[in-house]
Each structure stands twice: as structure tokens, then as C-alpha cells.
């Protein structure tokens, strides 16, 4: 078992050549029957396993991951956390997530560098100002911090935006100061280590190839490392949700799409907040290491290839230059893509599946990172108690049939537009 991390352990190990550090988590192999098998060793799967072990009755828990732990979106996203949502189905959930972020590091004994540096949505028109006011007021009603900055306040905060020559003039911004960034890989590693310390078996390089059912109930998973029996099975497969659910004969209201992300060369501190352009597809923050981390819209077509194409790259950079032309001479050092499980209303699913003992956690679109703690918390609750957690109660699979959609953007059943 791993010892606590602290400034003292770091100094002690520095003095003895770091010989005392142990693996952050055991490289477990499947053994016996599990009470719960979580399919997917990404952020959501690991968080689910951790909160299952921490918050609920004693259970034997396994996380099975087809590749290396955290190889999907948890390690490919642009690291933003926020709870600046509009609709009542989303607000309490993302605020729970924000509160969990705020205590994450002390809880998991792992520094994920949660940085509440403020998230700004730039406003460019009267209608947009009213829409952000509506959103900010909804946030306030849910006890979430929100401020509407006028032009003068925004100029004082972000003097480098293009105020004078903008095609779409800047009027102000919606600010959530508690929003910010988190070091993405560290979230996966921190949850993995913390779950491991509570006895969770994290089984890497173990690809699920089938879901075994008996009499309409899920009883285990076939994997590249053999059959693993489980009393309950939770799917947290993000971009691969459709493929894994199909193994149990389930079709989902999901399309997989590629979202690109970008990082520039490291520079001295330049951008202190998370900033989202309101007249194009561009958002940006600066990592603690100094790279500008930015992105834009999804490429817009179904894809299982974790990369994108030039039109989106250009679109993102055009947005960046329109908003803050100081970045023209900053250089892009790397761009990549991840596969997003885009739902038909842009909101996720945390629900029982049509197959008994099989549970779904899917449809995170491009917003899964910030949701990681609450997703794990609520999915663990659902699996352990067989009833939804109150803040994720709207994330039902039957909402599509019933018309109880949670469509923040109002674009309807077009995943590529959410």
C-alpha cells in the first residue's frame, strides 16, 4: 500500500534518491467475482470506482481498461472546470462537481492543481448579454457564483482583447470566478491511486469484448484477459459507449465525434483566466507550464479517429486572432483530437440500462472533464443504491422518448451542433 504524499515525503525521498516511492497504483489482475465492474479506466470510471469504495457499502470493485489508464478524453481535454450552465437539469450536477473539485486534492491526497482562476464568456451583442444574464441569474438561483462584467470592467481585467477593431464588438462578459482549470492527467492518476488505496482492482490492457447476460441480466464481461464475473456492471466508456453498449444489444442516442485541442509553446504568464470567445469558436487558458491551451468546435462529422482536419484548425486560430491578436506570434506546438460521445441534446446519461444490472454513464459530449467528480459520485450512487442521485436525476435515457430534453444550445437532435 502506498504512503501519503506530503512535503515531508518528498523531502525524505529527495534525500534518499527517491528509492522509497512505490507504484502509484497496483497493476492488478482480475481475481474472482466482483460486486461491481466498471468498464472504462478513464476519469469517470476511476472516479466512480473511488466514490463507490469511499461512499458506499464494502464491495469488491474492478475497473477494466482496454489500454493504459486515462488514455481517452481525461488526458486529451483542455482542462477547464466550470458550473456556468443554464438549465435546471444541469446546474445542480455541475455545481456538485465544482464543490468536489474544491476538495479533491485533500480528499485524494494528490495535487491535481485545481486552479479557480475564473471563466469568462465574452459578450458581443445585446441578445447575447441577455442570454448570459439569464444564465448568470439561473446560476445565482442555484447558489452558484456569477457576475456580469460591463465593458469597462472587462477592459480592466483583459486589456489585450481586440476592443477597437473587432468585427463583432465586445460588450462585456459573464464571469464565474470559481471556474478554472485542473491538470487533467493528475485527475486520472489521483483517482486511480486513491481508489487503489481503498482496494479497487485497476486492470489495464484488458479490453472488454462482450457483455455476458443470463435471463436478461448482466452477469459479467468477456475480456481480452478472460471472463470476469460481476454482480453489477457500469459502463463509463465515453467515445466508445455505443460500441460497448451494443455488446449488450443496446442502441444509444449518441454519435462519436472528434474534438481537437491545441497547445502553444510555453511562455511566461500571459493569460490568467479561462476565456471563451462569443462570436466564434475559440476558448483559451494558459497552463501552469506556460503553454496556451485552446480549442474550438468539434470537427462536425462522426469519427473514431482521434484527430481532426485543417478547416477546424483554421477556424479556431481565426477566432483566437479575432479575440486577442497578441497571440499571432505564439506558436502552435501540438494539436490532437479526442472522441466525444455526443448526445442528441448535448447532455449526458447516467441511468440504468434496459438490461438489468447494467448501468450507463455516457454522452458527455465535450463537457466530460469538468463533470468527472460528480459523474463518479452520482454513478456510484446509482450503482450502489439502484436509484439516481438527486442532482443527476434528469440524465435519464428515456428523456428522448418523453421529450424531457436538456438542450442548452437549443439546436435539437443534431449532435454535431451541440
Amino acid at each position: 500500500m502506498n504512503g501519503d504524499y506530503s512535503v515531508f515525503s518528498v523531502l525524505r525521498e529527495a534525500l534518499r534518491g527517491h528509492t522509497g516511492w512505490r507504484p502509484a497504483w497496483r497493476d492488478a489482475s482480475p481475481v474472482g467475482v466482483y460486486d461491481v465492474i466498471i468498464v472504462g479506466g478513464g476519469g469517470h470510471g476511476l472516479a466512480t470506482a473511488y466514490y463507490l469504495a469511499k461512499n458506499h457499502q464494502r464491495m469488491r470493485i474492478a475497473v477494466v481498461e482496454k489500454g493504459w489508464l486515462g488514455n481517452g478524453s481525461i488526458g486529451r481535454n483542455t482542462t477547464i472546470i466550470r458550473s456556468n450552465y443554464l438549465l435546471p437539469g444541469n446546474l445542480p450536477f455541475y455545481e456538485l462537481s465544482m464543490k468536489l473539485w474544491e476538495g479533491l486534492e485533500q480528499d485524494t491526497n494528490y495535487n491535481a492543481m485545481v486552479s479557480q482562476r475564473g471563466v469568462l464568456n465574452i459578450i458581443h451583442s445585446d441578445a447575447q448579454r441577455d442570454a448570459y444574464a439569464r444564465r448568470g441569474n439561473a446560476m445565482r438561483l442555484h447558489g452558484i457564483d456569477a457576475e456580469l462584467l460591463d465593458l469597462a470592467a472587462l477592459k480592466a481585467k483583459l486589456p489585450y482583447l481586440d476592443y477597437d477593431n473587432a468585427r463583432f464588438p465586445i460588450q462585456g462578459a459573464l464571469l464565474q470566478q470559481r471556474g478554472g482549470t485542473v491538470r487533467h492527467d493528475a485527475v486520472a492518476w489521483g483517482y486511480a491511486r486513491a481508489a487503489d488505496r481503498l482496494g479497487v482492482d485497476i486492470i489495464q490492457n484488458c479490453e472488454v469484448t462482450g457483455i455476458r447476460t443470463e435471463n436478461g441480466k448482466a452477469v459479467g464481461v468477456e475480456t481480452s484477459r478472460g471472463y470476469i464475473a460481476g454482480k453489477k456492471i457500469g459502463l463509463a466508456c465515453a467515445g466508445n459507449s455505443s460500441r460497448v453498449a451494443a455488446m449488450a444489444g443496446i442502441r444509444l442516442p449518441i454519435e462519436s465525434h472528434a474534438l481537437q485541442a491545441f497547445v502553444s509553446e510555453a511562455m511566461k504568464p500571459l493569460i490568467d483566466n479561462v476565456i471563451t470567445f462569443g462570436a466564434g469558436h475559440f476558448y483559451i487558458s494558459q497552463s501552469d507550464k506556460g503553454g496556451l491551451v485552446f480549442g474550438g468546435d468539434i470537427d462536425g462529422y462522426n469519427s473514431y479517429a482521434s484527430r481532426g482536419n485543417l478547416p477546424t484548425i483554421e477556424d479556431v486560430c481565426e477566432g483566437g486572432m479575432a479575440l486577442m491578436p497578441m497571440i499571432g506570434r505564439a506558436r502552435l506546438v501540438r494539436h490532437w483530437g479526442g472522441i466525444m460521445d455526443m448526445t442528441m441534446d448535448g447532455s449526458p446519461i447516467i441511468d440504468k440500462s434496459p438490461v438489468e444490472n447494467l448501468y450507463l454513464n455516457a454522452g458527455w459530449c465535450y463537457g466530460g472533464f469538468k463533470a468527472t467528480p460528480a459523474s463518479g459520485w452520482c454513478f456510484a450512487h446509482l450503482i450502489a443504491r439502484d436509484e439516481p442521485h438527486e442532482v443527476s436525476a434528469a440524465y435519464r435515457l428515456d428523456r428522448f422518448a418523453k421529450g424531457l430534453l436538456i438542450d442548452e444550445k437549443g439546436v435539437g437532435a443534431t449532435p454535431n451542433l451541440h
Partner: protein
């Protein structure tokens, strides 16, 4: 990515807009009731990890809707047909 429009020839991705799965079919008789068939048509998708028949729109070109068959892992375009032709064949 480049798509060969049957009317305009090979063009770059930026000329096209994507719609989605071309295998789901609007319930033929319409109907006033929100049946399971309707829910499946509007919301549920196979989302395969391989060849995918999908609808694209030649927005910055001839305004034709296209049925494109594309491999979702490699993005390789396997075939392009005018959606109007496919639809006529389907209803014939």
C-alpha cells in the same frame, strides 16, 4: 478530407456541412403519434466504428445532399452518391 461531389467534382471539407446517419429512415406513413419508431429515427444511432453511410450537404457548392460512405476510423471516403438518386431508388 475531400469529398467528390457527383456534380462539382472533388472538393475540400470546408465546402460541406454534415448531417449524420443516412441509414435511419423517417417513418413512411408519418403519423401523429410519437411512437418508438419515431424516437429511434430522431434520436437513436448505431454509431458504428467502421464504414458509415451518412448525409452531407454541399453548402458552398451545388446545394446537393450527398450520401457518403466513409470509414470512421481512417476517414477514408468509400463512396459518394447524390442523395436524391438514392432516395428515388428507395421509393421506387
Amino acid at each position: 478530407m475531400r469529398i467528390t461531389c457527383p456534380h462539382c467534382g472533388e472538393r475540400g471539407l470546408q465546402e460541406f456541412l454534415y448531417h449524420g446517419d443516412a441509414t435511419v429512415m423517417r417513418p413512411r406513413d408519418g403519423g401523429a403519434e410519437p411512437t418508438q419508431e419515431w424516437t429511434d429515427y430522431v434520436y437513436f444511432r448505431d454509431n458504428p466504428n467502421g464504414a458509415h453511410r451518412e448525409l452531407w450537404y454541399h453548402n458552398a457548392g451545388c446545394h446537393a445532399w450527398l450520401v457518403v460512405t466513409r470509414d470512421l476510423r481512417s476517414h477514408e471516403i468509400l463512396g459518394v452518391e447524390a442523395a436524391h438518386d438514392v432516395a428515388l431508388r428507395r421509393s421506387a
